[in-house]
């Protein structure tokens, strides 16, 4: 992939994309440091006439390593675990919601599954958004986590209630259970941050 590259532009674009995961106050400096290193190395290689496939691949590997550098900006590992779980649960909810929405809501024209599918997609998007907020430490992260967790709990409890029973118990455990866990872990983490 890196072999045919003629300018350091692609590396800088990767750094720009990864820098979005760095918390706001440190982002500019983090990006500047990485960009300066990449451009300096590129110019040096060019000057030494050693800009070949091997050196470009080496530079590419270094650029990819910047992702691990971003992770060290996350002070609490529990935050990282929450982000990973948020993405996983979002994918599971999104998959289930799409299935209900398309098959039963749109094709079979049933109102309840249609609404549940739509709300499910909203919850899926909220899980992803709150994951990004946790990673980037948005000021609104607490509000987002509370809204996401509460909505997920309500949606899944409503989904398993009779007479429609649109969801199974596994969906209840995943959706409502994780919603509750996320709320509790987030609050516990916030308290711990205040203490330390």
């Amino acid at each position: 992939m890196a072999v045919g590259i003629q300018t350091p532009g692609i590396y800088l674009r990767i750094i720009t994309a990864i820098s979005l995961l760095v918390p706001g106050p440190s982002r500019l400096e983090w990006r500047r440091e990485w960009e300066a290193e990449i451009v300096s190395r590129w110019l040096l290689l060019k000057q030494w006439e050693r800009l070949n496939a091997h050196s470009k691949l080496d530079l590419f590997k270094r650029v990819l390593g910047s992702f691990l550098d971003v992770l060290c900006f996350q002070q609490r590992r529990t935050n990282l675990v929450l982000v990973g779980l948020n993405v996983l649960v979002a994918l599971l909810i999104g998959f289930g919601a799409l299935q209900v929405l398309i098959v039963r809501g749109i094709r079979d024209r049933q109102m309840q599954p249609l609404l549940l599918g739509l709300v499910g997609i909203v919850v899926c998007s909220l899980f992803i958004t709150s994951g990004i907020a946790l990673l980037r430490r948005w000021p609104t992260v607490r509000r987002l986590v509370i809204v996401t967790g509460t909505l997920s709990i309500l949606l899944h409890i409503y989904g398993v209630l009779p007479p429609h029973r649109n969801m199974g118990f596994i969906a209840l455990i995943v959706g409502a259970g994780y919603g509750l866990i996320m709320l509790l872990v987030f609050e516990w983490n916030e308290k711990r941050n205040l203490v330390s």
């Binding site: 400096e29 500047r32 440091e33 960009e35 300066a36 290193e37 451009v39 300096s40 190395r41 110019l43 590997k61 270094r62 650029v63 990819l64 390593g65 910047s66 992702f67 691990l68 550098d69 992770l71 060290c72 900006f73």
Partner: protein, 109 residues
Amino acid sequence: MTRKMNLSFAGAAILQALAHNYRYGFDIMDVTGLPSGTVYPALRRLEQAGLVLSKWEEEDTARKDQRPARKYYELTNGGRETLYEAVARYRRLGRAITKSAKGAKPSRA
């Protein structure tokens, strides 16, 4: 302020590179052979612990070399002390390994 920290092998290698005047992230990678995903997070931790200090080089210096200004790292006094301790520890470990290797009977195939 320097915070006491357990120095890993990578951390010791980075401090050693800094002590030998390899001051930029990419140069430290070259000399230690460590990947960027190890060097940069370790530099951040070392800086947080007060063993390393980071500064931006002068724009004029960078302009003279026709490149952007880079961030460089240097050892603090605390970092130098920690490095000496780590080097002494690794020397002791090396001696202990050599001693036990000499004392061990060669295995017969």
